[in-house]
């Protein structure tokens, strides 16, 4: 009897010893997550301490300058905004169109397979390679120069896979019943798509577009590669302003700079005063990308909660 109890005890001790490892690993897991959290906190704190004093109205309304305390990000944020308009105008129609084609229209053949493999592979191409493509093709091949149009097209191509994948996932989650109902009432494929599929998948597509745009706004390497200038002290001409008046779309051919390039320029200078500017610009950039990402996460969260087919 006592031998049995002893054996039972030893087994219990063994299990307890093994279960201790569960606890150890759970702790290690939380610590590993904490590395991420701490990095995030340190990064934010560093930029706050360094950059927050520089954040003022003047910082947003001044051009870059040789004097660090007068330098601002006017040309950078205007440039970023304009480039994003071109990027969205490129990536949204192309990406949604491609996603709709692949989900609703594409026949099962080698061409469809080729397109699908391409989309997957493009998502893994380093962004700087897109910059080289744009330098060879848009800047010199098509003669678009170092313009807002070139940058917008480049970033549009860069985020195209993100938009395509989001569109496809959103469309795939719509049950077949919806399509069958529309066809049963005599709707054509395009009527089904434009009246039902696209409206129902809009929140999902929006999520992808916002995440893509957040990525594009922070991309530096491809925009530097096409040869964007780092020092711009003027704004692109607004439509119908100036003499002779600029056309509606003249701004797309204008030279430009964007937020990340401005930040890179200030970071790579030796003076600490410029590093403060870099921190302030970084703060603006991070707040922009994080709020875009948070919006996308929120839309997806609500989508998961509210839609039950």
């Amino acid at each position: 009897m006592s031998e049995q109890t002893a054996r039972l005890e030893s087994i219990r001790a063994l299990i307890a010893a093994h279960k201790r490892w569960d606890l150890v690993f759970a702790t290690v897991g939380v610590l590993a997550l904490m590395v991420g959290v701490l990095t995030f906190v340190a990064l934010f704190a560093q930029m706050m301490i360094d950059g927050a004093p520089r954040l003022s109205w003047d910082f947003f309304t001044n051009f870059p300058s040789r004097k660090p305390d007068q330098a601002g990000i006017l040309s950078a944020w205007v440039g970023s905004t304009l480039v994003m308009i071109v990027t969205a105008a490129t990536a949204v129609p192309l990406g949604v169109g491609a996603g709709v084609y692949l989900e609703e229209y594409a026949p099962k053949n080698w061409m469809t397979d080729l397109i699908e493999i391409n989309v997957t592979n493009l998502a893994g191409v380093p962004s700087i390679v897109y910059g080289l493509l744009a330098l060879g093709l848009f800047v010199y091949g098509f003669g678009l120069g170092q313009s807002i149009l070139t940058a917008g097209l480049t970033l549009g191509l860069l985020i195209l896979p993100v938009v395509i994948v989001a569109t496809r996932e959103a469309i795939r989650s719509i049950p077949a019943v919806i399509r069958e109902g529309a066809y049963a009432l005599g709707a054509t494929k395009w009527q089904t798509t434009s009246h039902h599929i696209l409206p129902y998948s809009t929140p999902g597509i929006m999520t992808g577009v916002i995440i893509g745009m957040a990525r594009a706004i922070g991309e530096t390497a491809p925009v530097i590669t096409i040869g964007a200038l780092t020092f711009i002290a003027f704004l692109p001409a607004a439509p119908f302003s100036g003499d002779p008046p600029a056309g509606l779309f003249d701004w797309v051919m204008s030279p430009f700079t964007v937020m990340p390039i401005q930040m890179f320029n200030w970071t790579s200078r030796p003076e600490a005063a410029f590093h403060q500017n870099a921190a302030a610009a970084g703060l603006v950039l991070v707040v922009m990308t994080l709020s875009m990402n948070a919006l996308a996460i929120y839309i997806r969260y609500r989508l998961r909660k509210s839609i039950k087919w």
Binding site: F25, G36, M47, N118, V129, L132, F264, T267, L290
Partner: protein, 317 residues
């Protein structure tokens, strides 16, 4: 029957008469085809992008390799294309790329794997719900911001630990790059682990295994190809990363295997040249395409490998 009665009706009408509805339906058919074709063209843009990348890199590199032999490119241990005494050896750039990637992987692989195992097997629902979006946010921070962080926060910190560490070094850039890659590694690994069927875990628990034993000896081996795919995706991101290195690791080509030294990577070199004003068509201009071609080939190999491994785990269950 229907077609017959329709045929009778059409015969009964005058020859030239086409009903409004029939005309509309014909027009509708044409419209449908046009729309399908336009959508097809949109889908083809991705193929055109790939073709564009291949053609641009190959044609510009071809001109470059007419002036510099491939042998010199691969074996010369100096990279000084912009000097009077020009050397075109990719090795110094390659060593910078490999060393910084190694440092990044030494950070990202252990931490990413631990986080993946923790989130997939250990974490309570609430922690998962908070941790996953947070990791997503971490990967959404622009790389230039990480570069700033590496240069002005991590490097001074490391300089306190390692006296004599230069202001530009591969170590701090690599560490920050590793932290940036953690979300990539952890989310792909976690997906692979969650794809492991519950029955395997239940079988393991039924044999008296603990959570930790199940995670390490059952789930991880079963998800191995997916985890390997995550590592490879991480490698390809590290190799292609640009701004962190351009900011924090310096822009001097340096053939070294020591992470404490400054060195330029392939990507940092491209940025350096693009910042200057090189005339279109000069050999200096073509060097960035040759460097870009090497980079694209490296990442292509990793991506294809990762893709194949991921396909395998999808088929397994």
């Amino acid at each position: 029957m229907t077609s017959l009665s329709q045929a009778n009706r059409i015969e009964a009408l005058p020859d030239t008469f086409v009903s409004d509805r029939l005309a509309r339906r014909k027009l509708r058919h044409v419209q449908e085809r046009i729309i399908e074709f336009v959508l097809f063209l949109a889908a083809c843009v991705s193929v055109a992008t790939t073709l564009g990348i291949v053609v641009i890199l190959l044609t510009e590199s071809f001109v470059f390799f007419q002036q510099v032999s491939l042998w010199d490119f691969l074996t010369d241990n100096q990279w000084t294309p912009l000097f009077a005494d020009a050397h075109y050896g990719i090795l110094p750039l390659l060593s910078g790329t490999l060393v910084s990637s190694m440092v990044a992987l030494l950070v990202a692989i252990p931490l990413g794997t631990i986080i993946a195992i923790y989130l997939s097997e250990f974490a309570p629902f609430g922690v998962r719900e908070v941790a996953k979006p947070f990791l997503e946010l971490l990967s959404g921070i622009p790389t230039i911001v990480y570069g700033y962080f590496a240069l002005l926060f991590v490097t001074p910190l490391l300089q306190k630990l390692i006296p004599g560490l230069p202001g530009f070094n591969l170590l701090s850039a690599g560490i920050v790059m590793g932290i940036m890659i953690i979300p990539t590694v952890s989310s792909v690994s976690e997906d692979a682990m969650r794809a492991v069927p519950m029955a395997l875990r239940e079988g393991s628990y039924a044999m008296g295994a603990t959570r930790f034993q199940t995670a390490i000896r059952v789930v991880t081996p079963a998800a191995f190809s997916g985890i390997a795919a995550a590592y490879i995706l991480g490698i390809s991101r590290a190799v292609g990363e640009t701004m962190i290195l351009a900011v924090a690791a310096g822009m001097q080509p340096n053939l070294t295997w020591n992470p404490l030294e400054p060195a330029a990577t392939i990507t940092a070199y491209i940025v350096q040249v693009a910042l200057g004003d090189l005339p279109h068509g000069s050999i200096g201009y073509q060097t960035i395409f040759a460097a870009g071609l090497s980079l694209a080939l490296m990442t292509l190999v990793f991506n294809v490998l990762g893709h194949m491994l991921r396909k395998r785990y999808r088929q397994a269950y």
